[in-house]
Amino acid sequence: MKDRSLSEFTDEELILEFQSNGNEKAFEILVQRFKNPLTNYVYRFLGDYDSCVDVVQDTFVKVYRYKDNYSSLAKFSTWIYTIAGNLARTEYQRKRRRNFFSISSFGEEDKAFDIPDNSNRPDVAADMNLKNEIIQKALLKVRDSYREAVILRDVQELSYEEIADIMKIEVGTVKSRINRGRAELQKYLKDIYND
């Protein structure tokens, strides 16, 4: 009965329940609600499934450990997307550095960011076709800050205001980054869209 009522709670009510009463069931419901949107967001940003799962799990570990840092003034989704975005950016930079200094990857810049072979991964949508792979690779070429804004807007379909809160920038800056990101993406995909 109590679980049923918890599942009807808003995200903010759930985190408050977890904060004030330490109710782990509330945390579990938040995990259920956010694990897939966050996995999709981080995967589109990193282009690597294993790293993406690690980043999303680390995001939830941070939420669990630092639950008291959440302020009820902000939306829970904004808070968790900010944590995931920060961790994803750190992971991306770490991978890029490792790739840069790795002798084995010399001359194979794209290797670390290849999209995983979906035929061996039932947990990834199976019908990712060639076009989607090309789009994903093009996304990874876009500058980090533009890519983040484009993914949040055009893949995750968040509002400009939410993106501004997540990225801690002005709405005007969000719009400009999205525009520049789209332009870059369009440039990398000109062979597809000129047909």
């Binding site: 579990e28 995990v31 897939n36 999709n40 589109r44 799990q57 450990r65 990712m128 484009v150 055009d154």
Partner: protein, 122 residues
């Protein structure tokens, strides 16, 4: 739809229709394992890790050795003087005079040097 969105219509449609990537089935299990291990790390504080006999004993030995070296082997015991800063030693056999009149004439006459230069005595 605004002008910008019309320009990128195809691109936006494709981005929107990208297949959704879901979390793996064992996500919660792995998450629980990570949370438990992070809780263990959290419980063992910095001081708990430092104040173990294994780390305290070598540290104490090192500290004692340093104290012994400092007090017993006093490397500064021999006072080193800078030769450029030492005042010249006074020669007791020399008499300081300020003018030639102070020199007794008899003494001057005795010396060979005065014989060679008699003009000094005039």
């Amino acid at each position: 739809m605004n002008e910008e969105e019309k320009t990128y219509k195809k691109l936006l449609d494709d981005l929107k229709n990208l297949p959704k990537v879901d979390a793996p089935k064992n996500f919660e299990t792995e998450l629980l394992r990570k949370i438990n291990s992070s809780e263990l790390e959290k419980k063992e504080s910095f001081w708990d890790r430092i104040l173990t006999p294994g780390k305290l004993a070598p540290a104490a030995v090192a500290l004692a050795s340093a104290a012994i070296i400092f007090f017993v082997v006093d490397i500064n015991s021999e006072e080193m003087e800078d030769p450029l800063n030492i005042a010249p030693r006074l020669r007791e056999d020399l008499v300081i005079i300020e003018s030639i009149e102070e020199i007794p004439v008899e003494q001057l006459k005795k010396s060979d040097r005065v014989k060679e230069e008699p003009s000094i005595l005039k």
